[in-house]
Amino acid sequence: MSEKQRGEVYLDNAATAKKHPNAINAEAHFYREINANPLRGLYKKSVQAKTGVDEARKAVLELVKADKSYTVIFSRGATEALNMVANGLIKDTDGFGVITRGAKIVVDIESHHSNILPWKQRYKEIIIAKNMDARELFAADVVSLTGVSNVTGKCFLKRIETVRRTCPKAILGVDGAQMVGHVPFNITRLGVDFMAFSGHKFGAPMGIGGLIIKKELAEKLRPLNYGGGAVDAVSEDGEPIFAEIPERLEAGTMPVGAIFGLKSAVKVAKERIEDLGAIDRFDETTTGRFIREAVDDLRKIKGVKVLAANNLIITFQVKGVHPHDVAQVLAEDNVMVRAGWLCAEPFLRYKGWGPVIRASFMEDSDSFYIKALVDAVSKVRAKMGLEDNKKRKNVRRNSNRS
């Protein structure tokens, strides 16, 4: 039975996107038909597993138009990838790293917590840049930017290009969690040194993502984990001879089924992105038009304030009702949205918005989703007793008597 037949209106795709059937099938296929550890075996199935992993790596690189100077390090997702790079860049006596803990790290105010905390917890000086001006960027060692905001849906490709020009010597990174698999771009042309992504944000299984990174920089990264698969040899007293990248940075058994699913989701995303051509054409697509209509309809509802609406995201508040209550009331109508700080508390505080409600769509979302969202939101204030005061007063009198 389909989601629509069940009456479910899932609008939390920015938290985790609906999984593409091809990706689910590819993961199931791996466990049913292959289920071998890549690298570990000399038998056919192990080779098939290794081939699948290599193909997935290649597919990701093609998706973001990376040239041969880049590689992909697989991780659990963008958060782990950002931790990998923040941790791996610190120079120490083990020979890894390129900057000290005193290096100047700049992130943008739109950052998700996952682009703040990995740096904040490891470095002495973190600038959360609000203006991206020369003062904030001056002498930055690392600039790690938001690709697409998970709060507003805004895409920052132009900002990335500008910062690359302004800070030619800085290590330039992008949190691509909401961007990769959705937005057309060319990582090579952008001159980005590393980009974190999560497969589950664009239809791949949960638990797989990675760091798309310049090989030259990856060579200097300290592994986040040490162990099997990351070494060529270990001496009797435990001294390792590390493997080459990317394996050196991928200790332990990878979630290979998820990687097979990722490969499949990347293929679907690549076709979609090629059809789109350019990010500023999104509004012209059928879904783009539906989402604009939803924004117009939401704005007509009494008490609703649309704070941001870009690409696949609409962020709003309902006057007099806490966002968590709004989300709960919408859930009663089977409309599933995210509410709260959206893991971007510094940004929401900076904007003076506080907690919000976010509806996030997929590229194939149609009028069914828009209508269901607008209908459910239009009932929120009444359900919370804000538009039928006479009835509430009666309840109060009765309640006081009891």
Partner: protein, 139 residues
């Protein structure tokens, strides 16, 4: 989820306000942005007055209002018993008989089906864990 009693206590709280001369107990649910201040005035280990102020979701505010109503006039031993039942109720572990014993607080029973909101419902109750010996001497 949002029954009449809960909505009513959110929109028309009976115990909103402050008590002069009583230390406000600050309670924060940082995940939601809820921030409450609870005032409890004691005499001989009995709550003789209670108020709250602050902002939060409907559940945290309604629960705070119901909390104050339910502890007023009771001693700490009795309040402890109610708290135990309340905490069991919001995780779905209280018996029907127990729930009947706690009166209007039963309006929050549906929280047991929504574990993400349990923190909101428990927020005001956390004030009891922060009571000091000095607070008990507030009269």
């Amino acid at each position: 989820m949002y029954d009449e009693i809960l909505i009513d206590h959110n929109l028309h709280p009976r115990n909103r306000g402050v008590i002069n001369g009583v230390r406000p107990i600050k309670l924060v649910n940082s995940g939601c942005g809820d921030e409450l201040f609870v005032y409890l005035k004691f005499k001989d280990s009995k709550v003789i007055n209670g108020k709250f102020k602050g902002n939060g979701c409907a559940i945290s505010k309604a629960s705070a209002d119901l909390f104050i109503s339910s502890v007023k006039g009771k001693d700490l031993r009795m309040i402890g018993e109610i708290k135990e039942i309340f905490e069991k109720m919001i995780v779905g572990e209280a018996t029907k008989k127990q729930v009947e014993r706690i009166g209007e607080l039963a309006a929050l029973e549906s929280i047991s089906r929504m574990p993400a909101r349990a923190k909101c419902a428990k927020l005001a109750w956390e004030s009891l864990d922060k009571i000091t010996v000095e607070d008990l001497k507030s009269v």
